[in-house]
């Protein structure tokens, strides 16, 4: 229970930090804290493989990418620290979201999920590498393939979005009509 409180606090601090940090770099660091706290939960919840994946993919790859972009975009630019003012509409949306999230949390805490009619022990290999492997390379392979396609899409996307382009103004007749 103490472990839960500590890790939950870490996760919450990370989450709140992401939202209120002034600079994107700090946000990113807070998000890493949050992600690692979640990874701890995954271990506790017998999802060892996911915990590893969470740390490697999220904290390792995704967040490094974030940090890289943040520094790329903000390096040497002075102006971006002007504090953001909360306009009415955003504030209202925020308050609404807080209420909804709080309500959701309360509902989740005080209403037990589906009452268990469960076998007592966890199945063998539950959540560890060989268990996940058996599923992902077995019956659920198709989902893995779909994720692979998405990563492929991302690769294509990065190529498309950052390819050199002809300057649109200088050369308006880019379009080919001979076909």
């Amino acid at each position: 229970m103490i472990l839960f409180v500590i890790v939950a606090l870490c996760a919450l601090i990370g989450a709140v930090g992401v939202v209120i940090a002034r600079e994107p770099v700090h946000s990113a660091l807070f998000l890493i804290l949050n992600i690692i706290a979640l990874a701890v939960f995954y271990i506790v919840l017998s999802a060892e493989f996911l915990a590893a994946a969470q740390v490697i993919v999220y904290a390792g790859a995704i967040m490094v990418l974030f940090l890289f972009v943040v520094t790329l975009l903000t390096a040497g630019k002075e102006d971006q620290q002007r504090s953001e003012s909360l306009k009415g509409q955003r504030l209202a949306a925020g308050v609404l979201a807080v209420l909804a999230g709080g309500g959701l949390a309360i509902v989740a805490v005080f209403n037990p999920s589906r009452p268990g009619l469960l076998p007592l022990a966890l199945p063998r290999n539950f959540g560890n590498l060989s268990g996940m492997g058996a599923i992902l390379w077995g019956p659920d392979f198709v989902y893995l393939a779909a994720v692979a396609l998405m990563l492929l899409t991302a690769a294509v996307g990065v190529m498309v979005l950052n390819r050199p382009r002809p300057a649109p103004e200088a050369n308006p007749k880019v379009r080919e009509r001979e076909l």
Partner: protein, 469 residues
């Protein structure tokens, strides 16, 4: 490898071959378009063959996906949308040579949405559909296009988050991932209610229903024209298909939970969407709001929760899609090197290109729901569904919305048929690929209006929710 999934496999193969073509023929890039088109045609043929095969429905991957007549009709619709987008943007260098690859990838997502029977497939479908479209929206490389992509991305990620959390709660409430195994009476209520609500919000976000429609006009306006046509038609098909699957399979027995909410959203969307369309000067924004309103019409089919609703939804998707393809093809012709068309640009279109003006009239009148066009028959079908469900409110909302929308569609028409203000206007060239789309779409629109019987037959056979009546 199950043979039932060959349409999807063909698209995947198409993606691979198209990419190879792009890599090995850097210079011209035209080969990729032909390969992609071939993949579309092959997939379409296989879908048709499968539709007439007797051993449907097929469940695969432990109820992960379900191939039935419904999913095959969705296949047909999204293939049409993809072919339309591909031909409208045929060999257009501005979108890069990777355009066909991304179109095919998004197509795969839409097809998965038609098949999905569990939460994983649902989520994968949504993301496979969205990711390429984020890229496509930003692919023009101009500032506006990039901003459209950014807006789409942020709101897409946001709505996917809501959807995911809703699905997670539903998983907790039911203990199953499979949509058709959800048994409402066994659900843990508060969790299930929260989960259903959030999931609906997430899906409705993708469809562009009114309180969650803010992103639609901006994204449509900023995206390149062929991509916008793809979003307007294809995305709508996918989102409507999965919404219908999700509600009609998972929560069919408890329509009281969601029916009224969806009904109110439908009426709100139809009226607000059409009202906002009235004020638009940019044709793309006009179509964006019209798309919102049409999403509202689609919701009528869902909210009426009967077999007529399912059939009407499929029929209306086709009628709407054909009209939209025609309008976008015309817009591409008129826009030429630009990426937007204002209502004023249409002035004197009748003088410049009479046939184009005539086709525009047909397409817009179909959107407005005038008889002898597909839009009219579709609306009649939706009205029937609403009456069969004993919900006159839905019927009334549909009609009031259509009435408001009429004024919005007629204004560009009056522009197109009024004399130009003296400026010299040259005739508009017709690129061949776009012309194919335009002519097919116009013939289809008229055909649906004059003799809808075969299509009515197909959708009646395909709305495979046998417990409804």
């Amino acid at each position: 490898m199950s043979s039932a999934l060959w349409p999807e496999y063909l698209v995947v193969i198409g993606v691979m071959v198209t990419m190879l073509t792009v890599i090995f023929s850097q210079k011209s890039g035209i080969g990729a378009y032909f390969v992609a088109l071939a993949a579309l045609i092959a997939s379409g043929i296989v879908s048709i063959v499968e539709w007439s095969s007797p051993n449907l429905p097929v469940f695969l991957f432990d109820h992960g996906v379900m191939v039935d007549a419904f999913s095959l009709v969705v296949n047909g619709l999204v293939l049409l949308a993809a072919a339309g987008a591909l031909l409208i943007g045929w060999n257009d260098r501005r979108y890069g040579s990777d355009f066909p690859v991304l179109v095919l990838l998004a197509l795969l997502g839409m097809m998965v949405l038609g098949l999905a029977d569990n939460f994983i497939a649902l989520f994968i479908g949504i993301e496979l559909l969205s990711l390429p479209l984020y890229i496509l929206a930003a692919s023009r490389g101009t500032q506006v296009s990039g901003e459209a992509g950014l807006k789409y991305l942020l709101l897409g990620a946001f709505s996917s988050g809501i959807l995911l959390f809703g699905l997670a709660l539903l998983y907790g409430a039911s203990g199953t991932m499979v949509i058709s195994h959800l048994v409402p009476s066994h659900l843990v209520l508060p969790l299930a209610a929260g989960g259903l609500g959030l999931t609906l919000v997430g899906l409705v976000f993708k469809l562009g229903i009114v309180p969650f429609h803010m992103w639609v006009p901006d994204v449509y306006e900023g995206s390149p024209l062929p991509v916008t046509s793809y979003m307007a038609f294809g995305t709508k098909v996918g989102a409507a298909a999965i919404l219908m699957r999700f509600l009609f399979f998972g929560f069919s027995l408890s329509s009281g939970w969601w029916g009224p909410a969806v009904g109110y959203l439908a009426v709100l969307t139809m009226i607000v969407g059409n009202l906002l369309a009235l004020a638009q000067k940019d044709l793309k924004r006009l179509l964006a709001y019209s798309g919102i309103a049409n999403a509202g019409y689609l919701l009528v089919g869902i909210a009426s929760h009967n077999i007529q609703g399912a059939r009407a939804l499929l029929f209306y998707l086709l009628a709407y899609g054909l009209a939209v393809l025609a309008v976008f093809a015309i817009m591409t012709f008129v826009a030429q090197d630009r990426d937007s068309v204002s209502v004023n640009d249409l002035t004197g279109l009748y003088r410049r290109s009479p046939w184009l003006a005539g086709f525009l009239a047909i397409a817009l009148l179909s959107l407005a729901g005038i008889p002898l066009t597909g839009g009219f028959v579709g609306k009649v079908y939706l009205l029937q569904a609403a009456w069969f469900a004993n919900q006159p409110g839905l019927a009334l909302g549909l009609v009031v919305g259509a009435m408001i929308g009429l004024a919005a569609y007629v204004r560009p028409l009056q522009r197109a048929f009024s004399a130009p203000d003296g400026a010299v206007l040259e005739p508009i060239p017709w690129p061949w690929a776009g012309s194919i789309v335009l002519i097919v779409a116009v013939i289809g629109t008229i055909g649906l209006g004059v003799y809808p019987t075969p299509i009515v037959h197909i959708v009646n056979q395909s709305a495979a929710f046998y417990w409804l009546h």
